[in-house]
């Protein structure tokens, strides 16, 4: 079998594997088969740029990232084979370029000549690694594996699912999935202008592997004695690595097309060819690299000087359960959106700039879309870098061995009492209390007597079980207007009851439940004791359940916000990051310590 046929089979298999991993990344799959948790993120774990960049920011190699040696070490021997044999994004570019390439043979040869702009990716790499050295992890923006996982998670899968929902259930919704999708399509379309544009010009992982290729033992070797300079080797050269002249090792994708296309057998894949036949190092100008490093450093300055992840943190930055503290989170999160993909409720959403520019596409909880499911810890299973730690349900809920530590709190719920129906509109509700999943419920309600609108009246005359009322006189008037109630207005409904408070002249107040009313007379259940006198004040109250939050029990799961009937993008109950446990042990970084401390202080 020809080596290029083998390559095509491997590419197809790798892409199928990638798609299978993406589709298998669901809560129920991972819950049922724990072994899946260790494979669905393998493409991310073998990515050497992920492990090197996170090693720079965290000084550790997190769990599965040790797998990156599987790519890194062979690259030292074989060159950038990853780009044309393994990388799913590279495979997409290769495939699209192959299907939609409308050039003639001469055009193909010209389109595959090396251009100096291909060095741009090395500057991208330098800038990102310098930013990482300062503590800002940005490789995920352009790393092809992270990029393609993100695109599939928040754009491709929801988009494909949408017309097929009758068969596959509901599609996911992500507010800015289209931006990621647009970038994806942009880079893919660029193949029609410059073949493998992303891989040749932009890809920082390709750049890293290109640098590592300089040590490669095996590479493409041209025998000048056989070569007729026909240029046919460039016809399908994926990397634009100049096999027709001095091979640029850092650019070669080891696709073997040139070896196959050479009509004279002048090209071969050989061990340690003559150094004169190749360009070992990337085409990088030292001054340009220094400039890129400066830009990377500058980027770090921008991110930290915004204050968005420190002093001016946004209370909407609510991270998944098991997330590490925000500074550490940003040092780890590569924005692959695996957590967003696996989340069973759609609550996880990619961020824009809520946590500053460095938090772009990192996961946030949007409780209008879903709520953090009580017994679910799936996001931690799939996080490749430990930004979300692998926690158990016991750890999340503070059960068993974790009873002393208590539950993980994502934040705390609050009421917007101006919008809450019972709080401001005298309308019964307390759905929030109903759905609150903690035991005892963090949201509880108290019965409140609230003065009805214009509820203060004067008694005109009273019988044993009824009072006829007039309006309380306006200032400067001796007598009030007659009342004009809607008949039955105060009969109440099953969830609201009305009461009349009779204020006696000695200052004592008695309350009686209202049975019914006509235009100016209230009848009560039972009888007055004593029967009121004319001229006494009678105040009409309604009784409502008004919800409250006990911060000690609130875990910030957001179910109350999701189910609040005051709908749209702003609910009457909402969760903020205040009081989150992940920042609890960081004195200077704790978000609203007072929410917790005052509670404990009160208990001591």
């Amino acid at each position: 079998m020809r080596i290029t046929t083998v390559r095509i089979i491997v590419q197809a298999a790798m892409f199928a594997l990638f798609v299978a991993f993406v589709l298998l990344t669901t809560f129920s799959n991972l819950d049922e088969s724990p072994s899946l948790r260790y494979c669905i993120g393998k493409f991310l774990e073998v990515d050497p740029l992920v492990s090197i960049a996170t090693a720079i920011t965290t000084h550790t190699v997190y769990k599965g990232l040790i797998w990156s040696l599987v790519i890194l070490i062979p690259t030292l021997f074989l060159g950038r084979f990853f780009c044309n044999w393994v990388c799913p994004y590279g495979i997409i570019h290769h495939f699209i370029g192959w299907v939609f390439n409308a050039r003639d043979a001469k055009g193909k040869i010209e389109s595959n000549r090396y251009r100096s702009m291909f060095a741009f990716k090395y500057y991208v790499l330098v800038g990102m690694l310098v930013a990482a050295a300062f503590g800002s992890l940005q490789i995920g923006l352009l790393d092809p594996i992270v990029f393609v996982y993100r695109v599939f998670a928040i754009n491709v899968v929801p988009t494909v699912n949408m017309p097929l929902q009758a068969f596959f259930g509901d599609y996911r919704m992500h507010a800015y999935g289209w931006v990621v999708g647009f970038l994806f399509v942009f880079f893919v379309s660029m193949n029609l202008v410059i073949p493998r544009f992303f891989c040749r010009v932009v890809c920082p992982l390709g750049a890293l592997l290109g640098v590592l290729s300089r040590f490669a033992f095996w590479r493409i070797e041209r025998d000048p004695a056989k070569c007729t300079d026909c240029g046919l080797c460039l016809q399908a050269c994926e990397g634009a690595s100049a096999p027709d002249a001095q091979l640029r090792m850092a650019e070669c994708f080891v696709c073997f097309n040139c070896v196959e296309d050479c009509p004279h057998g002048a090209l071969s894949f050989s061990l340690l060819p003559a150094p004169a036949h190749e360009v070992k190092n990337p085409d990088v100008k030292r001054r340009h690299a220094i400039f890129a490093a400066l830009v990377g450093g500058l980027f770090f300055g921008w991110t930290k000087a915004s204050g968005k992840s420190t002093r001016d943190f946004s209370s909407t930055v609510i991270r998944p359960p098991g997330s590490v503290e925000e500074q550490e989170f940003l040092e780890r999160c590569i924005k692959c959106n695996q957590c967003v993909r696996v989340c069973p409720t759609n609550v996880l959403q990619p961020a824009l700039f809520e946590s500053g520019v460095e938090g772009l596409w990192s996961p946030l909880m949007n409780f209008r879309m879903g709520a953090c499911q009580y017994h679910c810890t799936a996001c931690g299973y799939v996080c490749p870098t430990g930004a979300i730690q692998r926690i158990t349900v016991e750890e999340k809920l503070g059960l068993g061995a974790f009873a002393d530590v208590g539950p993980i709190r994502l934040g705390t719920a609050h009421f917007d009492i101006g919008r809450c129906l019972p709080w401001s509109k005298n309308i019964p509700c307390v759905v929030c209390e109903e759905v609150c999943p903690t035991s005892p419920k963090a949201i509880h309600s108290e019965h409140r007597q609230l003065l009805a609108r214009d509820g203060k009246k004067l008694i005109r005359f009273a019988a044993a079980n009824a009072v006829t009322l007039v309006d309380y006189p306006a200032a400067g008037r001796a007598v009030g207007d007659p009342c004009a109630f809607r008949p039955g207005e105060f009969r109440g409904d099953p969830t609201t009851s009305y009461h009349v408070q009779v204020h006696a002249r000695d200052g004592s107040v008695r309350t009686y439940p209202v049975a019914n009313n006509d235009s100016d007379t209230l009848s009560i259940r039972g009888e007055f004791d004593p029967v009121p006198e004319a001229g006494q004040v009678a105040a009409i109250h309604l009784q409502l359940k008004v919800p409250k939050i006990d911060t000690e029990h609130c875990i910030g799961c957001g179910l109350c916000e999701l189910e609040c009937p005051v709908v749209g993008d702003r609910r009457a109950v909402y969760v903020t990051a205040d009081g989150e446990t992940r920042s609890m042990h960081y004195q200077d970084r704790h978000r609203n310590r007072s929410l917790r401390l005052m509670k404990t202080a009160g208990g001591q």
């Binding site: 309308i427 759905v431 759905v435 035991s439 419920k441 099953p494 009937p565």
Partner: protein
């Protein structure tokens, strides 16, 4: 060069066909009022799932089975005893005809393990499915539209596994499964009925989880019996809330109206209430074993209203006279001795006065 006749006819013909198609299409789709493309799709209506059951008025209306144990064998015996108390041959043969598609509607509202009593016990569901199969049902569908992620709720509650064991099918709701249902008939002009709050109505036309209902010939409610923070108890009638879609959370402002409307909306083939565990407080979510008492009871009934009242009194240990939605349901569809809502006309039983059934000997009890 002049155009040949043939060419002229070809080109002219093509142009005429294109012009004709454009004009025809425009006329066909023409909307003179500008409103033809607006509005809701046509609403479905729900049949009376009890009407087809040949049920003698002298037979027991409520059948209670008590037993100790939460293993499948014990619960299966309890369910059989409860159903058997209603008489009419073995198992569900009185209720299920050979070849029927049966919708079993448990309460799978929350993602909780069975021991917390927030969901219907999976063994009860399993036993009911088994009885349906024995009665010759062609298919059994188990469906609910929970508040939390449906797949997780079915998995955590153990119901998914129970359903799978008996070879039935769980139907997980998706947006495409919901269709407007006219709970009350539309007006003369076809405009949807507007519920009247003065009559304590809340539902007119509303999206429901229609996919399982479309297929079902019979509907069996298998509710959990539990406390509810807002409407005091979630039992049989409240269980139909799990068939609603849309922004159903806004109904909580009139919760008793909606629960009684749900009773009005759904006339099930049979109710089998799960009182194996009873969540006594902190409902409807619970989450602590301290909230749950052992109820040791299964109740089968052909009268969901009386069944709710019985459970409220005997399992939740509260006074049904104080439960407003029972009162409202009585007014909406409850029987009167001879009036327009007699059984003969409405083809359904409905009274909140379970003690009257007891006095008439229409409640049977058994211990297993």
């Amino acid at each position: 060069m002049p155009v040949s006749r043939r060419d002229f006819l070809k080109r002219g013909g093509a142009t005429l066909i294109a012009a004709g198609a454009a004009a025809g299409g425009a006329v066909w789709l023409y909307d003179r009022t500008g409103k033809a493309g607006l509005g809701q799709p046509a609403a479905e209506t729900l049949p009376n799932y009890f009407a087809g059951v040949d049920y003698p008025v002298s037979a027991a209306r409520i059948s209670v089975a008590r037993g100790v144990g939460t293993d499948f064998e014990t619960i299966d015996r309890m369910v059989r005893a409860a159903v058997g108390g209603l008489g009419g041959g073995p198992g569900l043969s009185r209720f299920i005809d050979r070849g029927d598609v049966v919708l079993v509607k448990p309460n799978v509202g929350f993602e909780r393990a069975p021991r917390f009593g927030a969901t219907t016990d999976p063994q009860v569901v399993r036993s009911v499915i088994r009885l349906c199969n024995e009665a010759g049902a062609s298919r059994v569908i188990v469906a609910d539209n929970p508040i939390e992620s449906a797949a997780s709720c079915f998995a955590r509650s153990g119901i998914a596994e129970a359903v799978e064991r008996e070879g039935a099918r769980v139907m997980i709701p998706a947006r495409v499964h919901f269709t407007p249902l006219a709970i009350r008939p539309a007006g003369a002009g076809g405009e949807p009925y507007q519920p009247d709050p003065a009559k304590y109505e809340a539902l007119g036309t509303w999206p429901v989880f229609w996919a399982p209902l479309r297929e079902a010939d019979k509907v069996i409610g298998v509710p959990a019996v539990k406390d509810h923070n807002l409407c005091h108890a979630s039992m049989g009638m409240k269980n139909w809330y799990g068939l609603l879609g849309g922004r159903r959370n806004q109904f909580h402002q009139a919760i008793h109206n909606i629960v009684s409307d749900l009773g009005f909306m759904m006339s099930p083939t049979l109710m089998i209430a799960d009182g194996v565990r009873v969540m006594m407080r902190n409902g409807p979510t619970g989450g602590s074993l301290a909230d749950v008492k052992a109820g040791h009871t299964i109740v089968a009934s052909v009268d969901q209203l009386a069944c709710d009242a019985w459970c409220y009194q005997n399992l939740l240990e509260r006074d049904p006279a104080a439960l407003r939605y029972l009162d409202l349901a009585q007014g909406k569809y409850g029987e009167t001795e001879s009036g327009p809502r007699s059984y003969a006309r409405a083809r359904r039983f409905g009274t909140r006065d379970w003690k009257a059934y007891r006095n008439r000997g229409l409640i049977v009890e058994a211990n297993v």
